[in-house]
Structures are given as structure tokens and as C-alpha cells.
Amino acid sequence: MKLKMKWILLTMVITITTVLTACEPLLVLDPKGPQAKTQADDIMLSIWLMLGIVIVVLAILVFVLLKYRASKQPKDYEPPHIEGSPIVEAICIGIPILIVIFLSIISVDSNYKVEATPEGYEDQEPLIIYASSSNWKWHFSYPEENIETVNYLYIPEDRAIEFKLYSYGPITSFWIPQLGGQKYAMSDMVTTLHLAADQPGEFMGRNANFSGAGFAENTFEVTAMTPVEFEEWVEEVHETASPLTSEKFEELLEPGHLGRSTYTGTHLEFSPAPEHDHGSTDNNVEEDSDIEDHETHDEEDHSNH
């Protein structure tokens, strides 16, 4: 009786979810760029594979429960003493090993893919955008176009984009689910995220890593457009927007939420991105030799271990 109740409930849940997913595809499984596509494919593949494993386990479980429950056994039945069988156990280890090897190959391959320029875009120069977070906003600097935006991002479609991520505060995580997975933005180094959109559209972007009181609203909008439209937008900004001064930027960094805004010039000129140099920035300015010292040190470290 109770067993049935449980199944009814389970099927209900499953039906509800399938109906839901059918109406509107889940963001992560609705990729609009090559990186997100790689990830979505991996996810779907692993879901099917894992579903298979769950079903096998469930089938064995239901089978033994139905067959060997006490009410079906004779009263005087004494279960046998079985130590274990090397062959059966070898199979139970062997099959998972094969699955893990298979998934490892896919995982490693995909990891190298998402950490490189998106496939099919290798021949063109990537658009570099510096994305930095502050409590609780996103600042996007286009050094080539000499533009800076706050809380919104315009990108041309069909072009590789290289995001340079860093933070003016807690660790944040830059995430546009439909274009690809996230990466951390931290205050003492710059991380790189390779994305591309293969069609125009509007996408949700957000900080995914908890960063304090204003975290929930720490979102931004991404618009992918044709290269021509993008060029037009750049020109328009140069004509209409005011320049970003360091005072204005300091103001923007104040904790809080802001709407969209647009500036010419970028904050990189007066407030450059952190360098990945083990934090001894100030030292290096005075003694240039120090930089080399550290670097050679590091390389030797490599070779040593």
C-alpha cells in the first residue's frame, strides 16, 4: 500500500518536472554559444548515463525486495552464509571503472575546450572585455573600443570574446549560463574566460558566488547583436556618453546597486587590473630586477617538482 503511495507521488513529481521543462528549456540546457554547447552536451550525456546506473540499481533493489522479503519465504528458511565472490565483485568494480574512464576522457577533453578560444573562432582576433565586480555591480571595460559600461554588456555575435575577470571586493563569479559556465573574479589576480555567442539575443548574466548583502541582485544583462549593430553602438556611445573620470569611478565603486550606465574611456587607465605577480606590485615598481627574480624562481620550482 504505502509502496504504491510513494510511486504515485514520485511519478507526479516527475510528470510535473517534465511538463515544466517542456514548456521552457532550462537556461543551461539551452546553449547559445559553442562553450555552453560543449557543457550542455556533457551534461545531457552524463544525465543519460547516470539515469542508466540509477535504473540498474533500482531494478536490482526492487527485484531482491520483492523476491526475498520475509513474507514470501517459508517460515523455516535460513538464509545462507555467503562470504562474497571475487568474480561478482570484480564486475562491480570493473564496470564503474570503465564508466569513470569514459567520463574522465570526456571531462578532460571538454575542460581543455572550454579553457581555449571557442571552436570555430580560432582564426579571428578575440574581443577583449575586462569584467570587474564591485559590491554589487559589474563594470565592463572595452579597452579597444575605449568604452565602459555598468551592469550591461553588449557583444557582437559570432566572435570569440575573452573576458578578463577581477574584483574590487569579495570573490565573485561571472556567469552567463546560456553562453558558458562561470569563473571567479578575485581581487589579486585576473582570470580569463573564453565565451562566444553564435546568435543574437538577450541573456541573463549574474554573479553566482555569494558576496554579501546585495548578492541576490548582482545581475547584468547581456545582449548579443550583429557586428554591424555592435559597431553602431560603439559609435553612438562615443557620441553621447560622458568620459569616465577616476572620481566618477570611485563613486561607482561605493557599495550598493545601480542601474545601467555608459561611459567613454575605461577605468583601466587610472585603476589598472591586478597583475598576477604574487602580490609584490609596489616592490616591483622600484626594483625591476625583482620581477625577473621571482619569475625565474617560479620556473625552477616547476622543473624541480
Binding site: P79, C92, K113, A208, F210
Partner: protein, 652 residues
């Protein structure tokens, strides 16, 4: 006035004031009650100063249950806040405090004491010992843990709760972004509790290595003892990392050092890295004893021996090492190179192999068995498919490229609840129901127990399966609110309903305890489940000395053999038994740790120094103390044995 400002809760609300009044009244009621019934002496003699592993175990159990409800209330508040878009039940600051304390309380102050309760109560009984190796250290472990727990919970009413997540990543948890004393509480309370846990680890490794009954070689230990052994090995090698990490965090917050700050070379990711060097083994500390309990319960009610004993042991040993080489999968997205991610991705998936072996061994234990559906068995059977689901989503998360999409989302939240609830919480409830008669001398009501298990499962499925979906739809974890347009509302509502059903299940558990205390029969003998290992061979309630005669063991299920195959457990005559004396020192010393911790949180240096001197004085006193324990005479043992109805043959 400035001095006292620090003690105020920075973001007060009606809920907090109500809780303050509630806590105050309860404390008052407890104190008045104890005084009225003249129980202070009893409490001091029988509980506070006790060094008996069984009583210490019971105190761990009570703490764990208390914290289960504390953490549970947090959970319900979170789910209610998220049930509707733009809900205003909690503001963001409160929500942050609630999920932070929920995480800390559930992992460190609920799950940990629950498993340590089982270590304490079961391990000496399963290996046929009189007590643990260092009974006083054991009492100190408990009281340090207890004081750490108390200090952490105090943050709620004095000074404000920590609000940087249970992981407390820097720089968010640094002085710059967390200005209240909440994170000080986090650092110091967990430190004190952690030291207690580390001592537990040392104590139980020594106990298991040196105090086994004659004939019980390592490969003849009951499976729970094996799992406890491995878990304690992990404790001993993982907790020092936490000790150092919290010390560095404390120094950053109180002494202005620059380990994890954003300037002067500090490295925020070092915190995350070391946190998970401890944090990942920590989850195996929790899950392995749970596996051990299932390995006791499933054979008992399948009425068959455990299938694949050797591979069970081997898989745990492998897990104990693998658990230390996977930590970077908690931050695949930190920006390290694909080589590192690939390595940690593969090691993480590799853990699925030994875990899978265990699942199959349990399935094969059921095979050809004679399965009885008791409450503990019901939990164990429900555990298998639900945990498998959690396990396979773990493999999915281990794929580093795909993890870029799962990381920090509700998918992850669904995954770890999916392994911890069916894995750990079910095991704790199953184990508690299973061992309840041994501990308290009566059974919990089976019918209510089964209702609890089913309600819990329905609630669990409704609460957590939707999170997998919202996670893939872009709902990040730790968001206190979301807008209607995101489309998360329906599934979050389902989650809330599930959480509410789980709450009802836990309420039913409390009712079950109350009901069983009143109505359950007391004449159940010492082996009501017809079980297999040594702990069931002694009386109920277990006498102070556990076994009048040290048992002789020849297999993994000595008691079963004595019942079915004519193996003789208790050979020889009763001799006088050496037992340790009670001591108030562990409690007094832990109280000083509490004062020390509180003073540290608020940087009241004179008190810090005084309490530190007090702690050292306790150590000195202990060094010079001569206490060789006492003997229980043969007459006294015989009297007890007769009173508990004639020793050896009882329970057959």
C-alpha cells in the same frame, strides 16, 4: 557605552527578540526545575563529571537532536523565504545569517555529534571493551565540543550571527566586509569544538587498535567499528588543517595579519583551498560511519551475513586516502589551469568506484535473505536508491567543464543534500531507532517510525529534486530573493512544501519518543532485533563495566555465532574490574575555554589572559594528579549481573 554596543545584535528584528525571550525563559525554567527537584547533585555526579562512554554518548545524542531542530528551523525559514518571489519574510542580512548558521550547525553541531554519539556508545561495546582508551580525554572532548556549540549559538543573541556562509570565504569574511563579531564567533567556536573532535579521533583510534576483545583481529571487527576507525583516521589527519586555518582566520580578524586579505600579499584563495583540504575529508568523516550503520542494519534484517566484508573494508581504506586528493573540485572555477582541473576531476570520479562497490555489496546482502521491513531497515532500503541518485549527480559535478555550469547553483545544493540526508541523516535515524532499545531499554514505536521514514522521504523528494531543475535554470545558491520573471517560483514553492513535510516528519519523531516513553513495553530482553554483533550480547541497560567477562571472538559476527553455531562468548570466571574515576576537571576546563572563546570574540584581553591561565592551571593540576581509578569487586558485579537477570545466557 561603546563597550556595550558590541554585544547588541546589529540587525535586530522581532524574530530575534522573541527568540531571546524564549531562550531566556527556557533557561530559567530549566534552572528552576533542576533546583526544585533537587537534581543538581545528581546532574553533577552522574552526568557532568561522568567518564562513562555510554553516558557521554547520550549527551552527544541529546546535543545532536537539539541542534537538528535548531538547524531545521533555519532550513524552514529559508525555504519559506524563497517559496514566493520577492518575499519579505527575511531581509538579505537575516537570510545570510540563517543559511550560514544552518550550514555550520547541521554539519558541525548536528551531524558530527550524531556520529560521535555512535562512536561512543557502540565502539567499546562492539569490540568488547570496558571503556575507551582515555575516558577522561573523552569527557574533555565532549565538553569542549559542547562549549564550542554553546558559544556558536550564543552569537544569535549576543553580537550577531556569522553571515559569510558556512565556508566563510575571505575576503568576504575579513574585517573589511564582515564588520560584526559574527565571523569571530565562527572562527573561535568551531576551533574549540574542533579541538574536542580531534581528541575524539585520537582516542578512538587507540581504542580500536589496542582494546579489542581476544580473538578479534582487525579483519574480524564488526563493520561499524571499521567505519568508525577509518572515520577517526580521517579526523586525526584532517582536523589539524582546520585548526591552523581557523587560527590564521582569527589572526586576520583580530590581530591584523594578512593571510587572506586583499593587500600586502594576502591570498584569499588560500582560505578556500585549505578550507576544502579539511572540508572534503569532513564529508567522508560523516558518511563512512553512516555506511557502517547500514552495514550493521541491513544484515540484521536481511538475516544474512554482510556480503563482501573484505571489499567493504578495502573500499573504505581507499576512500580514506582518496578523500584527501579531491578538494580542488570545490573550486574548479577559480581559474587554475585545465591540467589541475583534469587531475582533480579524475580523482573525484574515482571515489565513485569504492562507493559503488559498497552499494552493490548491500544489494547482494539482501539477495537470498529473509527481509524484514522494520523501521531501521526501511530507512536503509530508502537510502539505497536516494543515495545512488546523490552519488551519480556527484559524478556529474565531478566533470570539471560541466561543473562551470553547476557550480554555486541550486544543482549543487540539491546534490549535497541528496547525499547527506539519505546518507547521513537517514543512517542516524535508522541507527538511533535500531540502538534505542539497547540505550534506553524500550523500543520506539514501529508504526510511527515507519510514518516518519515515509514522510521524510516524500518531503525530501519534493524539497530537493526541484532544486536540480532550478539549478540548471540558473538559480544561484544563497540568493535571498528572486523576481517573478525568472520562473523559479513554482518549483521553489514545491521545495517549501517538501521542507514542511520534512518538518512534520521530525515533529512526528519527537512525538514517537514521547509516545514510546509512555507506552512502550519495557520487558524486551537484551536482543530485541535478533541481531548479530557483540553489543547485543550484554544486558539492557548496559552495566557500567559493559561485559562482566571479556568476550572471546572468532568471527565478524561473534554474537550470531554464539546464538546459532554454539560459539562460547564468555569463558572463565568473573574477576574484579578496573574502572576510571569520575572527574570534574574536563567540565571545568571546558568552561574556561568557553570564557576564553567569548572574551576572544569581543577582544576583551584581560579576560582572555585570565582564562588562558585558568586552562593552563587545569593542565598543571592534571599533570600532578594521581588517580589510578577504582575496582569494582566481584561481589558487586555478581549482584549487578543477578539483578540484570543472570548474565551469560540472557538474550538467547
Amino acid at each position: 557605552m561603546d563597550f556595550f554596543d558590541r554585544f547588541a545584535v546589529p540587525h535586530p528584528s522581532f524574530l530575534i527578540y522573541a527568540a531571546m525571550v524564549g531562550i531566556g525563559l527556557t533557561m530559567l525554567a530549566v534552572v528552576v526545575g533542576i533546583t526544585y527537584f533537587k537534581k543538581w547533585g545528581y546532574l553533577w555526579r552522574e552526568w557532568i563529571t561522568t567518564v562513562d562512554h555510554k553516558r557521554i554518548g547520550i549527551m552527544y545524542l541529546l546535543t545532536a537532536l537539539l541542534m537538528l531542530f535548531r538547524g531545521g528551523v533555519d532550513a524552514i525559514m529559508m525555504r519559506y523565504q524563497l517559496a514566493m518571489p520577492e518575499n519579505t519574510f527575511l531581509d538579505s542580512q537575516h537570510y545570510n545569517e540563517v543559511f550560514t548558521t544552518h550550514g555550520v550547525v547541521m554539519i558541525l553541531f548536528m551531524a558530527m555529534p550524531f556520529i560521535i554519539f555512535f562512536f561512543n556508545f557502540l565502539v567499546p561495546l562492539q569490540i568488547g571493551a570496558r571503556d575507551v582508551a582515555f575516558p577522561r580525554l573523552n569527557a574533555l572532548s565532549f565538553w569542549l565540543f559542547f562549549m564550542g556549540m554553546g558559544l556558536f549559538n550564543l552569537s544569535f543573541i549576543i553580537g550577531g550571527s556569522p553571515d559569510a556562509g558556512w565556508t566563510s570565504y575571505f575576503p568576504l569574511a575579513g574585517n573589511e566586509f564582515s564588520t560584526s563579531v559574527g565571523t569571530n564567533y565562527y572562527m573561535i567556536a568551531i576551533q574549540i569544538a574542533g579541538i574536542g573532535t580531534l581528541m575524539t579521533g585520537i582516542n578512538f583510534i587507540t581504542t580500536i587498535l589496542k582494546m579489542r576483545a581476544p580473538g578479534m583481529t582487525l579483519m574480524k571487527m564488526p563493520m561499524f567499528t571499521w567505519s568508525a576507525f577509518i572515520a577517526n583516521v580521517i579526523i586525526v589527519f584532517a582536523f589539524p588543517v582546520l585548526t591552523v586555518l581557523l587560527a590564521m582566520g582569527t589572526m586576520d580578524r583580530l590581530f591584523g595579519t594578512n593571510f587572506f586579505t586583499t593587500d600586502n600579499g594576502g591570498m584569499d584563495m588560500l582560505w578556500a583551498n585549505l578550507f576544502w583540504v579539511w572540508g572534503h575529508p569532513e564529508v567522508y568523516i560523516l558518511i563512512l560511519p553512516a555506511f557502517g550503520l547500514y552495514s550493521e542494519i541491513i544484515p540484521t534484517f536481511a538475516r544474512r551475513n554482510l556480503y563482501g566484508y573484505k571489499s567493504m573494508v578495502a573500499s573504505m581504506v581507499v576512500i580514506s586516502i582518496l578523500s584527501f586528493v579531491v578538494w580542488a573540485h570545490h573550486f574548479f572555477t577559480m581559474g587554475q589551469g585545465p591540467l589541475t582541473n583534469s587531475i582533480f576531476s579524475i580523482t573525484t570520479m574515482a571515489i565513485a568506484i569504492p562507493t559503488g562497490v559498497k552499494i552493490f555489496n548491500w544489494l547482494f546482502t539482501l539477495w537470498k535473505g529473509k527481509i524484514q521491513f522494520t523501521t531501521p531497515m526501511l530507512y536503509s532500503i530508502l537510502f539505497i536508491p536516494l543515495f545512488t541518485l546523490g552519488g551519480v549527480t556527484g559524478v556529474m559535478l565531478a566533470m570539471s567543464a560541466a561543473d562551470y555550469q553547476y557550480h554555486n547553483t541550486m544543482f549543487l545544493v540539491a546534490h549535497f543534500h541528496n547525499v547527506i540526508i539519505p546518507g547521513v541523516v537517514y543512517a542516524m535515524l535508522a541507527g538511533m531507532t535500531f540502538y534505542w532499545p539497547k540505550i534506553f531499554g524500550f523500543m520506539l514505536n514501529e508504526k510511527l517510525g515507519k510514518w516518519t521514514a515515509w514522510l521524510l522521504t516524500v518531503g525530501f523528494v519534493l524539497a530537493f529534486i526541484p532544486m536540480y531543475i532550478t539549478g540548471l535554470d540558473g538559480q544561484a545558491r544563497r540568493m535571498y530573493t528572486y523576481s517573478e520573471s525568472t520562473g523559479f517560483s513554482l518549483l521553489n514553492m514545491v521545495s517549501f512544501i517538501g521542507a514542511a513535510i520534512m518538518a512534520i516528519a521530525f515533529a512526528l519523531l519527537v512525538y514517537n519518543i514521547y509516545y514510546s516513553i509512555r507506552y512502550s513495553p519495557r520487558n524486551i530482553g537484551s536482543d530485541p532485533w535478533d541481531a548479530r554483533s557483540l553489543e547485543w550480547s550484554t544486558h539492557t541497560p548496559v552495566p557500567e563495566y559493559n561485559f562482566a567477562i571479556t568476550p572471546q571472538v572468532a568471527s565478524t559476527q561473534a554474537f550470531w555465532d554464539s546464538k546459532k553455531n554454539g560459539h562460547e562468548l564468555f569463558k572463565g570466571d568473573i574477576e574484579k574490574i578496573h574502572m576510571p574515576n569520575n572527574s570534574g576537571l574536563p567540565f571545568i576546563m571546558s568552561c574556561m575555554f568557553f570564557v576564553f572563546g567569548f572574551a576572544m570574540v569581543f577582544s576583551i584581553w584581560p579576560v582572555v589572559i585570565v582564562s588562558l591561565i585558568g586552562i593552563l592551571a587545569c593542565l598543571v593540576y592534571r599533570s600532578f594528579e594521581q588517580d589510578h581509578g577504582r575496582y569494582i569487586s566481584v561481589e558487586e558485579i555478581k549482584e549487578t549481573e543477578t539483578r540484570l537477570r543472570g548474565a551469560k545466557n540472557e538474550g538467547r
